[in-house]
Symmetry: C2
Subunit: 344 residues, 2 copies
Amino acid sequence: MAITIHDVARLAGVSTSTASRALNRRPDVSKEVRARVQAAAKELNYAVNLHARALKGATSKTLGVILYNSRLLSFSAAIMEGIHDISLHHGYSVIVCNAHDAAAERQAYQMLLEKRVDGLLINSLNNGVEPLKRLATENIPFVLINRRVDNFDCDYVMVNYQRGSYLATCHLLEQGHRRILCQLGAPQHSPSQERLRGYCEALEEFGVPFEPELVIASGQVIECYDLVLETMRRLKPAPTAILAYNDEAALPVLKALRELKLRVPEDVAVTGQNDLFFAPFLVPALTSVAQSVYEMGRRSTEILFEKIRWPQDTPWATQQVIYEPKLVVRDSSVMVLPSVAAER
Amino acid sequence: MAITIHDVARLAGVSTSTASRALNRRPDVSKEVRARVQAAAKELNYAVNLHARALKGATSKTLGVILYNSRLLSFSAAIMEGIHDISLHHGYSVIVCNAHDAAAERQAYQMLLEKRVDGLLINSLNNGVEPLKRLATENIPFVLINRRVDNFDCDYVMVNYQRGSYLATCHLLEQGHRRILCQLGAPQHSPSQERLRGYCEALEEFGVPFEPELVIASGQVIECYDLVLETMRRLKPAPTAILAYNDEAALPVLKALRELKLRVPEDVAVTGQNDLFFAPFLVPALTSVAQSVYEMGRRSTEILFEKIRWPQDTPWATQQVIYEPKLVVRDSSVMVLPSVAAER
DNA sequence: TTGTACGCGTTATCAT
DNA sequence: ATGATAACGCGTACAA
């Protein structure tokens, strides 16, 4: 069994309550005793048992995170960086769960509730709104990351995917492209839908008719090589530009084009999304839409802590943060290099 | 306050102990009562309080992970995938900490000990062996990931970096290269040292003298662009091959070579390490050394669980797992394409 | 088969 | 300023 506060108290020759006060730096304890207790604690390598403290009614000093994690490793890793930085700053630790599917998500919720986390950061909606409603009724603070639910008012932090796809599509249209292939991920996923909306919005603005055959969707984004190959061969006339779902998806897209002996950007222009670290290093350097992913992790955690510390009786006004993306133009989408490239 | 087992017991019209037995599927409770209790639990949305259970002396059902996280996001993300998969399988959740420096590492240990984690997976040695010794004396199971300490017997799971660099260097030497630039990360870091050993070992085997000027080290691996540029300009004669620290570092290396108008692999051959997802998509496709990163996460967690479940009185024989790397030859290091490339 | 009572480690309350 | 005690929620030894 581990060292308890009783052991410390005994070694210091005081009662447990005095030891507790001394260790928690309460003012109502003599300096002499406090020093003795702290010395005893150090000598015994004492560490509070947070389970006992949590049981006593205090907080668990733990946040829960539920990630969707569709293999977008760089993406969720960046979010986690932001979450960790803020949590550490508040003296909190973080339990991370991957919700590959609905069942895993339920298990994650179960574990996190059993561990009595003080709040949740949620990037997965495999079971729809149900879990969120339950959290709301049980008064457990949570913030959605990159997800949003219609007709359900709650806090969320998002990237404006619609705007991102809109910007990229406009950029391609401005270059004169009229047949632009729009590549999406899982169709039921809200990020896919928003990207599609942005794509359509731009087309409409330029008076270009929408063609369903120019939209392709694949669940496993990174494995879309074959799909792109097949599509580019099938469509007549072939698209002259491709709006890749994200930078990771752009990799197989570029490879497929090389396979087809199509030059980028001369024959086909390509844009990515998320502006991951490798985008500027590709050949040609990948035009992408920069999203504040790390920032999203930070901000959502800050809001969560605000909410956790919010007095129960005061009404809380939900916060919605939407990060506006920025188009980063590189070589993969323009034939003439821009004079001063928006290189990061 | 949340629902407790008392509430469930009251609703089901039984005592708390009966409720406890029913919920834990103990055999000594009538089916009729069990059903009633479980119905009550479901109705109330009851979730055990794991703090209470942990306090009672059981386990905390939580693992701690301490990551070094030198921005090698894809790398640590892959490790975490393996850890999560195994933990979930055992019904455990995982608290992840980033130990950017010695102070953060100490804070991480403190938190994890206070949370009474059942075991630790450690990928950070910012405070040397001290913390490990403490864990050993306190009988807290842990497994090192990708770290090893001289004269300290403990469980670890590693990638054989020395062998990886050896293989890559031999490969370059076989292609006829004699001046091979060896790029490393932080010099005090054991992975850097092991890579250097593998590099030297290969040189010696081929009877090529070691030249200190051909070894460059930079803390921030991803920002080595300038260093490579400067080095390639300065050295006479210029190196004809570069052993990049890892695939992420290979990105700026390749970019620097393009800047210098040096062709890859004709003028300079390049190899990476870790074989990340983007390696085959680069132009030219990057030769790399494949490490079982995800596997390392899985295996270390499996060993940790073995150790956690190991009877206290039986002696435990420490396990050392070393994954042997595999060279994946692609276009960046050979002028004539191999007939059947070891493409994954 | 079911119920009663205690203890896990901590802290808040009350008493001294 | 310090000490005794109860309570948090759960599981279990013991009693019935």
